[in-house]
Symmetry: C2
Subunit: 427 residues, 2 copies
């Protein structure tokens, strides 16, 4: 796709009908064939990636981005493992989610159908090219991939292999479109095609996501950031609280489900905070605290309002001592990104109140925020995460790439029987 974004998208929509018509077995076999094709072409993929790495290196790209861009045999094996996992997922298309016989005898079913055409907008991770294509195709959709320019050679190599498999399965290759015109203007053009594209899912930094949300006329499912909170209640098991704190903050600080703020009930602050500080320090986590925190942990800097609003994505944590559960709820409501919140408590009533009072996408009692993940929640694989309360809220699996519609089976029922009879001249 170089010049004409709209005609390519129209081709994708046309081809998506062929994807929607594929049997579950055919979709399974297609994804397995894709995994095998990638494995058989490892060296050409790595060559393309080496070219991307060289170009990126010459342009002085940041090390973190270089790491995301890099492929090796292990990472490609991860990609094909993902393909096989998605191949093995239950097919959501055609699932009957409700069935009801109305008093007039009409059988009303709600049946899952694909969304249509999904546009993925992402940055320099070549694995997203394959992951997103696999999930969208498995759910019966066409897919338009707009990856970062740094990964264009890797993406093109992967896209070519996937398209070969589509063609061999009798599906027009246009069911999978890799956008090669990487100008921002072209992305805006893509995001305006609201009669063609059914959903755009941006994945990446907040800047990219805000750009997409700003310019889209197509529906967008997104999350800006994950400012996840851990509240240690006065009735908490403090050993357990410590485990959840360390796992949540330090096991993968760059993840959106990592903890950013620790709230501690005043009654247990003097006991818990010194233990927490020792464990965090042992993991090189920098702490920033409120006044009351600093009266216990004297040597840490003050946390500002910006700290409590921050998604650090790094080994830093903001800490606040609160009077009670209500104060914790007030804090979370103010700073929440609607992503994931955790309470540690043995008090069932406190847990219930915490859950009921917060409307974040994922609310947990006595479990690590790091479980806020499609795979961990049993969705099989994750296409993204939504902090928007529409269509899908929280981690999104394959089901979120479909929609329920109505199928009715009747035997001639009319809504105004006497009216019809009069009209057709029958008594």
């Amino acid at each position: 796709m170089t010049n004409d974004m709209k005609s390519a998208a129209l081709q994708c929509r046309e081809a998506a009908q062929a994807v929607a018509a594929l049997s579950s077995q055919a979709k399974h076999d297609l994804l397995i064939a894709m995994a095998e094709r990638i494995e058989a072409n490892l060296s050409s993929i790595l060559e393309a990636n080496a070219l991307d790495m060289r170009n990126a290196g010459e342009r002085g790209i940041a090390p973190a981005m270089l790491d995301r861009l890099r492929l090796d045999a292990d990472r490609v094996a991860g990609i094909t493992r993902g393909l096989r996992e998605v191949a093995g997922l239950a097919d959501p298309v055609g699932q009957v989610t409700h069935r009801d016989t109305r008093p007039n005898g009409i059988v009303v079913e709600r049946v899952r159908v694909p969304l249509g055409v999904i546009a993925m907008i992402y940055e320099a991770r070549p694995n997203v090219t394959v992951d997103a294509a696999a999930l969208c195709l498995k759910a019966g959709n066409g897919v338009i991939l707009r990856g970062g320019s740094e990964a264009i050679n890797s993406n093109r190599a992967l896209d070519n292999l996937l398209k070969q498999c589509l063609s061999e399965a009798g599906v027009p290759a246009a069911a999978l479109i890799l956008v090669e015109d990487l100008r921002r203007e072209a992305m805006v053009e893509l995001l305006q095609l609201n009669d063609i594209i059914d959903l755009a899912i941006p994945r990446g930094g907040e800047g990219l996501i805000r750009f997409v949300a700003e310019h889209a006329r197509v529906p967008v499912i997104k999350h800006y950031k994950g400012v996840c909170h851990l509240f240690v209640d006065k009735a908490a098991n403090l050993d357990l609280a410590l485990d959840l704190l360390i796992d949540g903050k330090a096991s993968r600080p760059s993840a959106c489900n990592a903890l950013e703020t620790l709230l501690v009930h005043a009654d247990v602050a003097a006991t818990f905070l010194p233990r927490a500080a020792a464990a965090l320090a042992a993991r090189n986590v920098e702490m920033r605290g409120c006044e009351r925190t600093r009266s216990i942990l004297a040597d840490i800097p003050a946390a500002t309002d910006e700290d409590f609003a921050a998604e650090y994505l790094d080994l830093i944590i903001a800490i606040r001592v609160v009077d009670d559960l209500d104060a914790a709820l007030t804090h979370i409501r103010q700073y929440s990104s609607d992503h994931t919140e955790v309470i540690v408590t043995e008090d069932e009533q406190a847990a219930e109140r915490f859950v009921a009072a917060l409307r974040s996408a994922v609310v947990m009692v006595n479990a690590s925020s790091r479980f806020s993940d499609g795979g961990e929640l049993g969705l099989g694989a994750e296409i993204g995460i939504s902090t928007t309360r529409l269509h899908s809220y929280g981690p999104m699996g394959i089901e979120a790439l479909t929609i329920e519609r109505y199928v009715l089976h009747g035997s001639g029922q009319v809504r105004h029987p006497r009216f019809s009879e009069d009209a057709s001249g029958q008594p």
Copy 2:
């Protein structure tokens, strides 16, 4: 709400938390109280409406719009009957739609929560003011109502009564906002509040809906029009086909689920079309046909491409003879508004192919398109209809005003157990 749209919307969001926290019983009682309050104030409502009618009459409003604007005792009784029906609906909030224990012992639930704040944008029907408020409140949401300027006095009278009931139920009256600044600029301002309003639902003519879609930064669920098709297959029971045709076209032509196009299989055209024409003519339905139709019904005018794309909302129907099921599918795919399509056939395979090949929101076998309605489908009451394959597709009931989120109950599970143990210094 006159000057500061944003601060009113923020108050509504705040008040929506109180609505979300109401028990099922409290919401039931609130809606019953609203019905009683409206009944007790019938004369003041009719006075306000008479003022609207007088103003509209002086401005030379079209008779159809005057009819939509008009209230009388019967229509108000319909409004309060609707309130009692919504009061009696099952409360979707708090419903656990899935429950699953993960291998690590965490219990994962999906639980329905309100969307938050819903903006309804509609035209001159005062009944929508109450219907929409009832459904949104029952689903635990705050609601912002922006009705047509013609109905402002009626809407204000109804809104005052509803707000009294909110206050008496201990809910801030700001949970229900009636927009009184009816300039288009103010509507645009409202539609831009994407951090405050969770969903906008426009209801009215295509012009209003396109205006909302054009200017909204908040998510919008909409349908532009209903170009509903009836396909009479060669294996159709023709008596039944005639009933569905007359009910679909003539029982309420102004409804979006009325038929606009009749497709007839060539094998039965010579038998069916003369009967259809007689029955349609008896109901004063004007026919416009393709060449092959006109070779059978000589005296009707030719149908143009515009006819096949039209939502007449009137006693007019476009007719086309098609070679076979495939040709019918091709026609429907080209002209469909993704609303409702019907096949009449005794051939199960043909019915299956019709259902599978079309992705409209509602697809029917041997039933009238007029059943494409929330009440008829068992949803209880309808807040609108969606022809967008996102969040909700087809008639939308109260459930469509909620979203599922995740609630997890654990007992200290961490994602990287060894990692935590190392960190906290335990073996």
